[in-house]
């Protein structure tokens, strides 16, 4: 089974990468974009989708600073 895991910085945690991208946009003429946040997308195949949450908690995300969402495809 294919799955996608979306990982992003928890709300309230400063994301300097997102800020840098946001600050670059006006120079390109994109004036009305704000709240840019940058995360990661992990695609994988698994025979044991039940384990995905544990896998995310243990490795793919750091629950202290990141939220994740699992999407089964």
């Amino acid at each position: 089974m294919k799955a996608r895991v979306l990982i992003r910085p928890k709300e309230g945690i400063l994301d300097p990468q997102g800020k840098a991208v946001e600050r670059a946009l006006p120079a390109l003429g994109f004036e009305r974009v704000s709240h840019v946040r940058i995360g990661r997308l992990v695609e994988l195949e698994t025979e044991t989708p039940d384990e995905l949450d544990a896998l995310c908690e243990k490795l793919l995300a750091n629950p202290l600073i990141e939220d994740y969402e699992v999407e089964l495809l």
Binding site: I13, L14, P16, Q17, R40, L59, N62, L64, I65
Partner: protein, 215 residues
């Protein structure tokens, strides 16, 4: 310790050998032998893929380090080593990308906190140490409540001197210890400050502190 991608292990080994006998532990070694202390050095372990330090924690040598730490053995994590120790839960918090986005590399001053640790046995609260930092992911973060707890329980080992916080770390924190005090994580690099040739020997105090406790 040396992982694939470590880059400060030789300086760490040198710093240790100035205070006692030292040897390198390769990441695949499961047995630490009869060492008195372990240094997890800086660098980019396993390419820092996923998150800094996230993969290194699963190496056989880190399993041994976790057992060594649980038994009270002194463990010092520097920079990437600090990130590894946070990732494996031996230290609280996490290290986030620097507030200013840029990699920072500079000499700065640390102010010792009240934490108690073998590595701090020769250092008093308020002592000022000049050591370099060099990192992109050094912004210490701990969830609300835990920061206050760290301060209350005297677990802040070092803060950046006022006005010198290079990365936006919460409460200017540069280093913390675990509850028992035997595990110390530091974002700055004491192993690069052990010879007058490079401007400071203040870092040596951390290594000699642990050595004097072990002796």
């Amino acid at each position: 310790m040396q992982f694939p991608g470590s880059c400060d292990e030789q300086d760490a080994l040198h710093a240790c050998s100035l205070s006692g006998e030292a040897r390198m532990v390769w990441h695949e070694e499961r047995d630490l032998g009869d060492v008195d202390a372990v240094v997890v050095p800086g660098g980019f372990s396993y390419g820092d893929y996923l998150r800094a330090g996230a993969i290194a924690r699963f190496s056989p040598a880190m399993e041994a380090v976790a057992e060594f730490a649980a038994a009270g053995g002194p463990v010092l994590g520097i920079c990437n080593g600090f990130q590894v120790l946070c990732e494996c839960g031996l230290l609280p918090g996490a290290l986030l990308p620097n507030e200013g986005i840029r990699f920072v590399c500079r000499q700065l001053d640390l102010i010792a906190g009240r934490a108690s640790s073998p590595f701090l046995s020769g250092i008093d609260e308020g002592d000022r140490l000049s050591v370099p930092v060099k990192h992109a992911f050094g912004r210490f973060f701990a969830p609300p409540g835990q920061l206050e707890e760290l301060a209350r329980d005297d677990r802040i080992a070092f803060r950046y001197a006022p006005g010198q916080n290079p990365n936006g770390s919460a409460a200017d924190i540069a280093g913390v210890v675990n509850e028992a005090g035997n595990v110390l994580g530091l974002m700055p690099h004491p192993e690069h400050a052990v010879d007058a040739l490079t401007g400071s020997t203040d870092g040596l105090r951390i290594f000699s502190g642990a050595a004097s406790v072990a002796a």
